[in-house]
């Protein structure tokens, strides 16, 4: 956080960092690998795009170490669209994050979709002016990321599968753990903080407010308008759609349909209309068929 005395302006404050995520609520953030896809996403009504070299389905198929994208490619996307652009760094790779900050991306995703660079520490996100979004599979993980400075949380799901079951599990887990916390008496919160492996003050804040202090999106396996609407009904503030759009038969139409269903998540007739004639969805992989080492959601802690 910096204060410019002359203009009395404060930049990069927690309020400003978390505030951008507040403005994305009720929206769809789409993975794009080039300027052309970014344009399609913007035209379909995406609230932001995630610039990356390979969508998770391809990272999964091709294997190897997945790293931050080429700055040229990220900049090209930033030049093409006017909506916020996010980009991914590896977990713990603070230099990739420094590079992304120097490119002036609007949000950095410290992401388990890429290969972790540090199996002990995540990035100290307080050091950065640019806000971070981080993945979480449960409340403790979400609170640890917020403690490190994350300004937005997305539940992890299982990226690149088109199987929404893990996303469902993670959002349900986080919501249930928050509800359980709210039901505890004050003297029970000490042990709750210990069990969640999260700071006591933050645990008390969540218990009192009944929600995370930052915006919570869902990611990982969302492929259809119905998937997106279900995540919203389960309490998500918005959705990330990765491989689900550009690995499908008709990306522009599917993207717009998911945007519609995310807004009208409580109106089955709108979701039904949005689901018609979309062509082929991404083929997908069942998470239960994935051997444990290939489950991305188990990266990060």
């Amino acid at each position: 956080m910096t204060l410019n005395e002359q203009s009395r302006q404060t930049t990069s404050s927690p309020l400003v960092k978390r505030g951008l995520a507040e403005m994305l609520k009720g929206g769809v953030i789409m993975d794009v690998v080039n300027a052309e896809q970014a344009k399609i996403a913007e035209d379909a009504g995406a609230v932001a795009v995630m610039a990356l070299e390979r969508v998770p389905a391809d990272i999964r198929a091709q294997g190897g170490v997945a790293r931050m994208s080429d700055p040229d490619m990220i900049e090209q996307i930033m030049k093409t669209v006017s909506i916020p652009v996010m980009a991914k760094s590896r977990i713990g790779h603070f230099v990739e994050a420094q590079i992304l900050e120097s490119l002036k991306v609007d949000y950095i995703d410290e992401s388990e979709v890429l290969s972790p660079a540090d199996y002990v520490n995540h990035i100290d996100k307080w050091k950065f002016g640019v806000p971070f979004v981080c993945g979480a599979t449960n409340l403790g993980e979400a609170l640890r990321r917020i403690t490190e400075g994350a300004a937005m949380i997305r539940s992890k799901g299982e990226a690149g599968t088109g199987d929404v079951s893990e996303a469902t599990k993670h959002i349900r887990t986080i919501r249930a753990e928050i509800a359980a916390l709210s039901a505890k008496t004050k003297d029970e919160l000490y042990v709750a903080a210990k069990e969640l492996q999260a700071p006591y003050d933050l645990v008390c804040e969540v218990a009192a407010s009944g929600k995370l202090p930052v915006v919570l999106f869902v990611a990982g396996g969302v492929a259809t308008p119905a998937d997106a609407a279900m995540m919203m009904q389960l309490g998500a503030d918005g959705v990330f759609v990765g491989s689900g759009i550009f690995k499908s038969g008709n990306p522009a139409q599917r993207a717009a349909a998911i945007v519609k269903a995310t807004t009208f998540y409580n109106d089955p007739s709108v979701i039904a209309a949005a689901s018609r004639g979309l062509g082929e969805a991404m083929v997908g992989i069942n998470v239960s068929d994935l051997p444990a080492p290939h489950r991305l959601s188990e990266r990060g802690w």
């Binding site: 302006q9 400003v16 960092k17 505030g19 403005m23 929206g27 609230v47 900050e101 519609k260």
Partner: protein, 195 residues
Amino acid sequence: MALPIGVLALQGDFREHAATLDHIGVQHRLVRTVEELESVAGLIIPGGESTTIQKLATMFGLFEPISEKIRNGLPVFGTCAGLILIADRLLDGIEGQSTFGGLDVTVRRNAFGHQSDSFEIDLDFAGLDTPVHAAFIRAPIIESVGPNAVALATLPDGRIVAAGQGNLLGISFHPEVTGEHRIHRLFADLVKRAI
């Protein structure tokens, strides 16, 4: 009984606006359909992504009805993306982006640059006796105010960030996220007078 104030709930921080109205004890309802639009005495257009809100409004047949309501005098309060959407003229919009219009101003979208240039500041606001704490998040600015509108707040460098005209109020920043309730109160009073 007086009709509630509507909060356009297509995308963005509409819940924060609803919570602010709760805080000052003003009845409200979320608006996503033409029927819901028919049942409100005023409309708040929240912060969010202006391109997304405009596309959703068009897809669901709200675009023309909202424009028409504004022309017929419906009180409307827009913050950030909401300001963009009620401006008569828009700079740096995407191809094909249009606005509901009504407020005689020229607005530049995302005028401060990237997220790293977002900021907080205290500003004087016409009609309020102490400064408001304002958060600018990838915010637009009002490049010029036409003869029908008046500027209500400016940055220290003189750039205009709030304007009003009749029943319309448009501001670049987000009172709904900084706990500032007085501008919503001003709007609620405006709605009361319009009935």
